[in-house]
Symmetry: C2
Subunit: 152 residues, 2 copies
């Protein structure tokens, strides 16, 4: 039980200052939705390049990947206790009930985004395409487990 | 008339690729609202420090100022023609009717945010406090002129 307890303490440490950063649950919900929205837009631009829908441009790819990198950690500071309600949102109860699993999923995404940034800076199309695929799977996996129907 | 014409051409050049980046007006509106929301949250953390509501921490101030700097340009890529409707928003018609004035206000804010980042990195509290005040005035001025009642 010791590792599980340690994880719980660590999660507590991570969540409390995060919650303190927001005045209200509504502010936290809008912040995380905003961060996901902007991050998603820039990730989509990368995906459109690697899928051949838009022409590949190494400079633009790097700019978009850096923005995704700058934003990736932010939303997870805004899932503190009590932020399941306060504004319409799609977070499932599992975000808080399975907090360690959610945290692991968030950390995997952030790590995958780090590799995405490196791939974009490297300038090789196939490497970037593979990295976009890995991040896309991270997004989908977390959405499957933790994002549900809209609730008020 | 030549400078005015040149400005109109420049604005056209800036707006068209920006619009092309979004699939729908709704996507553009959500993107700019998201960017403003996240930027506003990090700017508020700086303002809370310089107003003495939160303790001053130079490292945290720099992180927040860098995030504001990363985000400052983004919303203005999402005010392309036809994005006045498509999702609830508070943009006034003046955003498009007085496009040159809006662009100048946006550029002033971005320049002020550049000074804010430099001030935060410098680590001097009074310099940062002054820079936060200047950016706050930029925000307010633009909101006064270009942000109105919510419309569907």
């Amino acid at each position: 039980m010791k590792p599980r307890h340690a994880t719980a303490v660590l999660l507590g440490c991570l969540c409390l200052p995060a919650l303190a950063q927001f005045q209200t649950p509504e502010a936290a919900i809008k912040y995380r939705q905003g961060a996901f929205s902007v991050m998603g837009a820039h990730f989509s631009r990368l995906a459109m390049m690697t899928q051949g829908i838009q022409p590949f441009d190494a400079k633009s790819a790097t700019e978009n990947a850096e923005l995704v990198g700058n934003l990736a950690r932010l939303p997870f500071t805004a899932f503190g206790p009590g932020t399941d309600k306060g504004a319409p949102n799609r977070s499932r109860d599992e975000v808080w009930k399975e907090a360690a699993k959610f945290k692991a999923a968030a950390e995997k995404m952030v790590a995958d985004v780090g590799k995405l940034e490196a791939a974009a800076k490297g300038g090789d199309f196939e490497t970037l395409k593979a990295a976009v695929g890995v991040v896309g799977k991270s997004c989908k996996s977390c959405h499957d487990d933790f994002r549900g129907a809209r609730r008020e």
